[in-house]
């Protein structure tokens, strides 16, 4: 099943949830839980906490499905944002500081190449983002990666990359400006 087909299925199932349709939530779960669990597990680094958060994510989807607007957002964008926000909230609440290995900026772009996922829906959007990320300085891209994938704060990123907090803020802000201009969204 390709990405766009999947997207339409997920959007249609989300539209059924506000009516109290548990089978529709199960459809959304079946199609998206492995991806969202991957996202949450990457941020939290621990299966037990990640499973708790994944439950919160789908209970939130059940309550908020009426807010999802298929004409405005892709369902995966909406779901990934809920999953990342819940995982980061949990991370902040537990003040976890164990994932602060130093980040080596050099050479990390190679891991970025779109690979096995290119057949999935969103491949086009991913290719575009990847191209724009390629236009950033290595250190800027490395800092954004630490925030997006590991859920790091400015302070944690500054520590991991061994630069002053003000420098880290300026890298990330500059990177966001460049990214927005490149994506033209």
């Amino acid at each position: 099943m390709d990405l766009d087909a999947n997207r339409a299925l997920v959007a249609a199932a989300l539209a059924r949830i506000p009516g109290g349709d548990r089978a529709a939530l199960q459809t959304v779960y079946r199609l998206t839980s492995a991806k969202l669990f991957g996202v949450v597990l990457r941020i939290l680094g621990e299966r037990g906490a990640a499973e708790d958060v994944l439950q919160e994510v789908y209970v939130t989807v059940w309550r908020k499905a009426a807010d999802f607007d298929a004409g405005r957002a892709s369902p995966m964008t909406w779901l990934i944002a809920i999953a990342r926000n819940r995982a980061i909230d949990r991370l902040r609440a537990q003040r976890q500081t164990s994932r602060l290995e130093p980040i080596e900026a050099a050479g990390e772009l190679a891991d970025d190449a779109p690979g096995a996922e290119s057949a999935l829906a969103g491949a086009q959007e991913h290719a575009r983002l990847h191209r724009c990320l390629g236009g950033l300085a290595e250190r800027e891209r490395a800092a954004l990666r630490g925030a997006f994938f590991d859920g790091n704060t400015y302070e944690e990123l500054a520590e991991r990359m061994k630069v002053p907090l003000g420098t880290m803020k300026s890298w990330i802000r500059r990177a966001m400006i460049k990214l927005k201009a490149c994506l033209e969204l």
Binding site: M1, D4, A5, R7, A8, L9, A11, A12, L14, A15, G19, G20, D21, R22, A23, A24, T27, Y29, S33, A34, K35, F37, G38, V39, R42, E51, L54, Y58, V59, W62, D69, A70, G71, R72, A73, S74, T77, A81, R84, N85, D89, R92, A93, D111, P114, G122, A123, H126, L129, L133, F148, G151, T153, S170, R174, M176, I177, L179, L183, L185
Partner: protein, 232 residues
Amino acid sequence: MSDLTEQGALPDDELLAAEYALGVLAEAERASAARRVARERAFAELVARWEERLAPWAAEIAEVPPRAQVWESILAQLPSQAAPRPSLWQNLAFWRPLALASGALAAACIGALVYLGGLSREAVLVAELNGNGKHALVATVDPRRSTVLAVPANLEVTGNRVPELWLIVPGKDPRSLGLIDAQKPVALAVPARLLAEATNEAALAISLEPPGGSPTGQPTGPVIAVGPLTKL
């Protein structure tokens, strides 16, 4: 000073929205931004745009299937008995827009009613397709006559695109029901075998496709409206 000049390119609210969406804020600032998302529509929109920009990055994260117990725990946390959904015909929320809103939707509903006049009610399903905060279309599905009537309300088609109607059955790829018209009702003849799958477990969706319809047999353009099928 070049930093200041460059940072001036993002207004304060947009910068905060980007920082929130990326996830770099510490606990107190993050909680404060989350409160603004909940209360301020304009700020929530800024955050949503940044989430849209960043979300494709998640394609690089490997899928990890959760244990089966997770789904059971989710089910246990849902309200103990979901209120049964009233049929669309009895659902006040569905008809309220007739009193309030666009003449276009009213016309669509009346069109559906006129059409329904000659139908056996028990077999018929209807779907109200919404997208972008608007009622896009009302569709009535009559499996016995192998037809789908698609009556547009606020159906916006941009660029050199045509709207295509899809039947979405859980667990299956979308199936095209045909091209529809943003300006006037269209009655689509659909194979009976396909329409047999149009149950109240299924839904309809509209995507924007190149002239002539999807070249692949699957939706290729954006899905602009979706609505579940409901028995009358």
